[in-house]
């Protein structure tokens, strides 16, 4: 006969189910939670009796430790209800953790029901915030052979104490030579430098700190730079300037200062790349291709003279006439294509002088054209004309400009008014036809020789050759 219910719903099935439930309830009533205990409680007897028991195994009721799921009380509260010493001493390790916000509950590290002799501190090691005590266990999860670390491996005398000597004793097993050398150099108080997160050994990434290690710095031993360092702060205080370590290596004897990295890399002293443009004397033009030693004789770099003449004295085709600053006319591209600005010279060229060839003023000497000492006085080139010989010395510029000889400006005292006759200033040659030292009134207006002779004779004047003696202004009525 077919039915719709599962085959297990039989009378015997239901009866045995009911019996099993009754049995579980009866055992529960008689023996508490024994049916649900995952294992025997720890039976190791402690030194003190806490609330009437000496070990967890002596606790009978599950509810002594296990709190009801409702309500604020947690199992950790039940722990400290007995283990009052944990909360009374503020220096207790557990209290320090809690003060640092590391209250993770007791069960993260402590568990029970693992057997009468099992440790109460075995589970949850991976959860224990060991950083809270200043040392991370990140690098101490497994030993070299793969076995998990347990507390006692480092805390031989209980978790509350730590002997730093244990570090060296373990690490000597791994690498005796290195450990010996390292402790000789940095001492045996490992925790002064190591916090468990770092590794200052082979895998330490020095690039994470301010001074990255590259090139030939990479294989150096720590103590070659961190001389005598015994703590993180002392390690960090290692000088970072090149000269702190390499003063003795300086083949330039300090000529380039103390920043070797300006030219050298950590790959080696050789293959230096000196950027001359950063120096006081940037190299341009044909200076770029000159060999270093051409200027820096005997590898002396500091104090190399920067004036042109220091190197180019022999090249001076001008025989020193223009001084030592070649750059006034020449560039570093070539000696040719010089551009001499005569306006910077003592005798700027203006007016008609601009049209004069160099040779017009500068004569040739035995070794080329002579520039220095070329006279600047007008008379050196310009002879005084017969027209005013002896009158104005050689001060041509008093009346003339370089634009042209005429017109000239005469603004000195003149015995006879130059606006004679009130018809404006007359040209010099109107009165001074031959030289400025002679004059004549004849030939102007009605002043013919015949007229003047007849008019003066009528007046009985016989000496009338010097007109201005009697006619100083040239006006009527003089």
């Amino acid at each position: 006969m077919k039915t719709n219910h599962p085959g297990c719903i039989t009378t015997s099935g239901l009866v045995t189910t009911a019996l099993a439930l009754v049995a579980i309830v009866v055992i529960g009533l008689l023996r508490g939670g024994v049916l649900f205990s995952p294992g025997a409680l720890n039976a190791q007897v402690g030194g003190v009796t806490l609330r009437g028991v000496r070990s967890h195994a002596e606790i009978n009721a599950c509810g002594d430790c296990h709190t009801p799921p409702v309500g604020q009380s947690k199992m950790a509260d039940r722990c400290v209800a007995c283990h009052t010493d944990l909360t009374q001493d503020p220096h207790n390790f557990h209290n320090v953790m809690i003060a640092q916000g590391q209250d993770i509950g007791c069960h993260a590290c402590h568990t029970d029901h693992n057997g009468a002799q099992a440790s109460l501190t075995i589970a949850g090691m991976e959860n224990f915030p060991h950083e809270a005590v200043g040392y991370s266990l990140k690098a101490h999860q497994k030993m070299a052979d793969g076995a998990l670390f347990v507390c006692a491996d480092c805390h031989g005398n209980g978790v509350a104490s730590f002997d730093p000597a244990i570090c060296a004793s373990c690490h000597a097993d791994l690498d005796a030579a290195f450990t010996q050398s390292h402790t000789d150099t940095f001492g045996v108080v490992c925790l002064d430098c190591h916090d468990g997160l770092d590794s200052y050994g082979e895998v330490f990434d020095h690039n994470r700190v301010a001074f990255s290690l590259g090139g030939k710095h990479a294989p150096l031993g720590c103590d070659q730079c961190h001389l005598g360092a015994r703590s993180i702060s002392e390690l960090a205080a290692a000088p970072q300037d090149c000269y702190a370590c390499h003063a003795a290596d300086d083949e330039h004897a300090g000529q380039f200062g103390t920043d070797c990295a300006q030219c050298h890399t950590t790959d080696g002293w050789e293959d230096a790349t000196f950027d001359h443009s950063l120096a006081a004397f940037p190299l341009t033009g044909r200076h770029v291709t000159v060999a270093c030693e051409d200027c820096h004789v005997n590898d002396v770099f500091a104090g190399t003279p920067q004036d042109c003449n220091a190197c180019h004295a022999a090249d001076d085709e001008h025989g020193g006439q223009f001084g030592t600053d070649c750059a006034q006319c020449h560039t570093t591209d070539s000696w040719e294509d010089a551009s001499f600005d005569h306006s910077l010279a003592a005798f700027p060229l203006t007016g008609a002088h601009l049209e004069v060839t160099c040779a017009g003023c500068h004569t040739n000497g035995p070794s080329g054209m002579i520039f220095a000492g070329t006279p600047t006085a007008c008379a050196a080139c310009h002879a005084e004309p017969a027209y005013h010989t002896g009158l104005f010395d050689s001060e041509c510029a008093a009346c003339h400009t370089t634009t042209a000889w005429t017109p000239a400006e005469f603004d000195q005292a003149h015995l006879f008014p130059m606006n004679h006759g009130e018809s404006g200033v007359s040209a010099c040659r109107v009165c001074h036809s031959d030289t400025l030292q002679t004059y004549t009134c004849y030939g102007c207006h009605e002043h013919t020789a015949q007229n003047i002779a007849s008019e003066h004779r009528e007046e009985g004047i016989t000496d009338f050759t010097d007109c201005t003696r009697c006619h100083p202004t040239g006006q009527e009525g003089d």
């Binding site: 239901l14 045995t16 189910t17 099993a20 939670g33 049916l35 649900f36 995952p38 009801p68 947690k74």
Partner: protein
């Protein structure tokens, strides 16, 4: 009549794979995976779900008039597969501790698996149709008679007059008839054995699941709610 052990092979392969995973996790954790850890809990829960499927799916298919999906023999294969793999995962879940009710539940699990193996062989002694439906004695007798008629038609017993092909068919029919006669003879005994087996297997299973549910509930209560 069951001819193949395919479901046992499948279960064996699954057990090997699960064992390899378990070993990998054990090596990774450098210790036996705790029952309360992620892996331990996972295999416990998955194994128990497989066991629940073992308990329910086959029997529902067998008893239900409406749910006729799939062949009975396939459901039995699945029942055997989950009935081996599920308990094996639960065994790994224990982390080799057998305390309290959890230990009792595991003991019952081992018993029920052993019982299941025995039941499987009693089951095969009962003749069934190709779809796994048990045949009644009358139906077997009918089949014997039908085969007899078929044999007569072919001129049994095998003789020199008949062709080789006919003689082969006659021999096949003779073997078929002999098996049915043997099953008819032992039918009553096989049925009694199967009924007896059911009477033991089902209550053990019920106690097992009762224990397992209470264990799961207690584990949740003590290990999760009481933290």
């Amino acid at each position: 009549m069951r001819q193949s052990n395919r479901e046992l092979w499948m279960a064996f392969i699954a057990v090997v794979i699960i064992t390899l995973v378990y070993l990998f996790v054990t090596i990774t954790l450098a210790g036996v995976p705790a029952a309360s850890g992620f892996f331990g809990h996972s295999i416990g829960v998955l194994g128990f779900i497989l066991m629940l499927m073992t308990e329910t799916l086959y029997t529902i298919r067998k008893r239900s008039r409406r749910a006729r999906w799939g062949k009975m023999s396939s459901w039995l294969d699945f029942h055997i597969f989950t009935g081996i793999v599920g308990p094996f995962m639960v065994l790994l879940h224990t982390s080799w501790k057998f305390n309290g009710l959890a230990g009792i539940a595991l003991l019952l699990t081992i018993i029920i698996v052993a019982s299941g193996f025995i039941g499987r062989y009693i089951y095969t002694a009962v003749p069934r149709t190709a779809d796994g439906i048990t045949l009644e004695a009358d139906e077997i007798k009918q089949q014997i008679l039908a085969i007899g008629a078929e044999m007569e038609k072919r001129g049994a017993p095998p003789n020199a007059a008949a062709s080789k092909q006919v003689n082969r068919q006659i021999k096949q029919l003779v073997r078929q008839q002999q098996r049915l006669r043997r099953q008819l003879g032992s039918l009553a005994t096989a049925r009694r054995m199967l009924a007896l087996w059911h009477a033991v297997h089902i209550p053990i299973g019920m106690v097992l699941f009762t224990s397992a549910f209470i264990h799961a509930g207690a584990a949740f209560y003590y290990a999760t709610l009481l933290r």
